[in-house]
């Protein structure tokens, strides 16, 4: 009798689930959720970025409770947080370095997708939603960087908002509208603060869409082939919860090293000087995670037909991200994973090198060799996207794909006698 009769907690959950299938939903999506059995550690970065989003929102809300978004008080209020708020220094350093960590993770996640063809059918929308998240992240990070109202904050805001003035006819009007005045000032700071608080919650919503799209067909995997039966998958919990947890701890070690021992290493010293509209810093540079776009922005030093060099730069910088929306159709190869694509496997690394080169260009004053490298790297970026992707897919002869994930795992030297059989929960 005692065995057959569920406990009180189980009965309550059953009562709720009958009306609102929430526990059932969590169980289905986080516990039983069938996941390819061969995911490598490169698949850790998705859950890591989700955790970073939560860390940023929590630290951000506590910081917001102490911060004053006024051009006269913003800088001092940040120093007040650093000095007089209990563990204010920890919260701010977590938030500040968290932005860098977030982007590092997201970029690795993105390049993981590029290498293993995670954007290909049926995951096109998953990919597109991801690119939307990237755009939202960039906007949020940029506006957050303005809030301390240091020299780099102020001048970054000036440079970036001024980009819109390149738009013919309506550009200058848009810039005045963005500023809420005729220069970057108090109204600009107020609205950036409001948006910096709003956008993370928009990101949460889009991340949920990203997850819904992900769970429709499940994760891609290093082989890039679909899972065909239960022998190819394992339940998400405990296999991937523990793997993600281990990865998270290793990541936190790196994150905490920066927070506790090099908290300003990734920042600009200039941002500890209060904003001064009368004095332009020698080199205005964005944070490291925006350097490649900045390099593309500055790469066009000549007008193209009737388009001014400034407008051309703005168009290219935006296009460098927007072009990712079309990647599922630009890449013509039917094979997802670069493991089975003998040419793409190498060309992929050219893109990595190209983006790092763009980062280097963005960090340096645009003189001499830097300009040339920037132009070549920008040119290559678009060639890679618009020509190499379609061309390699057509020319390349992919290696034969394994029949199934479980077959490949077994072939790869699995020690388990029963490999290939469906795996239940331990």
């Amino acid at each position: 009798m005692a065995e057959t009769r569920p406990g009180a907690a189980a009965r309550i959950i059953r009562w709720i689930d009958y009306r609102l299938p929430f526990v059932q939903f969590l169980n289905h999506e986080l516990n039983e959720y069938p996941t390819p059995r061969n995911l490598s550690y490169w698949w850790n970065y998705g859950s890591l970025s989700g955790i970073m989003l939560v860390v940023m929102i929590i630290t951000g809300i506590i910081l917001a409770a102490q911060y004053t978004p006024s051009s006269d008080l913003a800088f001092d209020s940040v120093e007040r947080i650093m000095r007089d708020v209990n563990y204010g220094w920890l919260l701010r350093y977590l938030h500040m370095n968290g932005a860098s960590m977030f982007f590092a993770i997201v970029y690795i996640h993105l390049f993981r997708g590029l290498y293993y063809g995670s954007y290909k059918t049926p995951r096109e929308l998953l990919w597109i939603i991801g690119v939307i998240i990237l755009l939202l992240l960039i906007a949020t990070a940029f506006m957050g960087y303005v809030l301390p109202w240091g020299q780099m904050s102020y001048w970054a805001a000036t440079v970036i908002t001024n980009l819109f003035s390149a738009i013919p006819v309506i550009g200058p009007g848009i810039v005045t509208f963005l500023w809420g005045g005729f220069t970057v000032g108090d109204p600009t700071l107020h609205r950036f603060y409001a948006l910096h608080y709003l956008l993370p919650f928009v990101i949460v919503a889009v991340v949920l869409l990203h997850l819904i799209a992900l769970h429709r067909h499940g994760s891609n995997n290093p082989l890039g082939i679909d899972h065909k039966g239960p022998e190819d998958t394992i339940p998400f919990h405990p296999y991937y919860t523990i793997k993600d947890l281990f990865g998270l701890t290793v990541f936190l070690l790196i994150y905490c090293f920066f927070v506790f021992y090099a908290p300003n290493f990734l920042g600009e010293p200039d941002n500890y000087i209060p904003a001064n509209p009368m004095q332009t810093p020698n080199h205005i540079v964005p944070e490291w995670y925006l350097l490649p776009y900045y390099a593309i922005l500055r790469s066009i030093t000549f007008p193209i037909l009737f388009i001014s060099s400034k407008l051309a730069g703005v168009i290219l910088a935006f296009s460098s991200i927007l072009i990712l929306f079309f990647l599922p159709w630009l890449d013509t190869s039917p094979v997802r994973s670069a493991r089975f694509r003998p040419i793409y496997k190498w060309v992929f690394w050219l893109l990595v090198i190209d983006v790092i080169a763009l980062g280097w260009v963005g960090a340096n004053p645009p003189e001499g060799i830097v300009v040339t490298v920037g132009q070549i790297a920008t040119f290559y970026y678009f060639i890679h996207m618009l020509i190499l992707f379609p061309l390699i897919g057509k020319l390349e002869r992919p290696l034969p794909l394994p029949n199934s994930i479980s077959a490949a795992v077994e072939h790869g030297g699995a020690r388990l006698s029963g490999a290939g059989a469906p795996l239940a929960k331990p």
């Binding site: 059995r37 490598s40 550690y41 490169w42 850790n44 970065y45 001092d76 120093e79 650093m82 000095r83 220094w89 920890l90 350093y93 860098s100 590092a104 993770i105 970029y107 690795i108 394992i234 405990p238 296999y239 523990i242 793997k243 947890l245 281990f246 990865g247 701890t249 290793v250 990541f251 936190l252 070690l253 790196i254 905490c256 090293f257 927070v259 506790f260 021992y261 908290p263 300003n264 290493f265 990734l266 010293p269 200039d270 500890y272 000087i273 020698n282 540079v285 490291w288 350097l291 790092i356 980062g359 280097w360 960090a363 340096n364 699995a414 020690r415 388990l416 490999a419 795996l423 331990p426």
Partner: protein, 254 residues
């Protein structure tokens, strides 16, 4: 598997480092000093901070404010409550308006910010040949090179090279960008007399005042380093436990 984790972690680190290295400056390289607060176990040397505060108070504060410091903060560098009160009382601060609507002067209290030498930036410029002596409470964090740069400036005064054209009223400094600095050499041997008997040489005073200014910019460094150590140890142990658990759980798949 562990190897791949390290590869992934290393790649993350490389991405971050490459960008930071990319913007290394190309000016006269700063001589690196040994600071007690360097490194994972670094802490402030309170005796040095107190000597540094004395140098700041007797020399630097003639022109430079420390806007973000309060008298009460001095308790953190080893002054007792009574000593802090005495230091504060040695300053006159403007308060008010009183019931008659007048501003008035009164002796400082620990809860007051340390008053600067000038009422505003314009007054500071007027008294300094048009140059604005910058706030010192964040200077160490606001300059590439940090403490080494501040020390470099304090000890980097030299005769200009023969070919170097100086602007009237400027001073040649090896480590200042452009080499022409409005500030005259601030330190000279025995400019202050240290109560603990330390010889007040220029390098000694520069070292002490730079330590003090580093503390002024980053007063929570000791706490940060201590907390960090506990956090890192906790995470290392955690990573070990989770890795073992992961191996055990995955054992039947591999």
């Amino acid at each position: 598997m562990l190897k791949r984790t390290f590869a992934a972690a290393a790649l993350s680190a490389v991405v971050l480092l490459a960008s930071a290295l990319a913007r290394a400056a190309d000016e006269t390289p700063l001589p690196r000093q040994e600071w007690s607060f360097d490194g994972v176990f670094g802490t402030y040397d309170l005796a040095s901070l107190q000597r540094g505060f004395q140098v700041y108070k007797e020399v630097c504060s003639v022109c430079h404010p420390v806007k973000h410091l309060y008298f009460r903060d001095l308790g953190e560098i080893g002054y007792s409550e009574d000593e802090v009160k005495a230091i504060a009382a040695g300053y006159q601060v403007t308060d008010g308006p009183n019931d008659e609507g007048q501003m008035y002067q009164r002796p400082g209290r620990p809860s007051d910010p340390i008053p600067g030498p000038f009422p505003n930036d314009q007054a500071a410029r007027a008294a300094n040949n048009g140059a604005l002596p910058p706030d010192q409470s964040l200077i160490v964090k606001a300059r590439p090179g940090g403490p080494d740069y501040v020390y470099g400036i304090l000890t980097g005064y030299k005769e200009p090279p023969a070919s170097f054209k100086m602007i009237e009223g400027m001073n040649y400094n090896e480590f200042f960008p452009g080499h022409q600095i409005a500030m005259p050499p601030p330190l000279s041997d025995n400019a202050v007399t240290f109560a603990d008997g330390t010889l007040a040489t220029v390098p000694q005073m520069a070292h002490d005042v730079t330590s003090f200014l580093t503390w002024a910019a980053e007063p929570n460094l000791d706490d940060r380093h201590r907390t960090g150590l506990k956090v890192i140890l906790f995470l290392v142990v955690g990573a070990g436990v989770f890795y073992a658990a992961k191996r055990k759980i995955w054992a039947q798949i591999h």
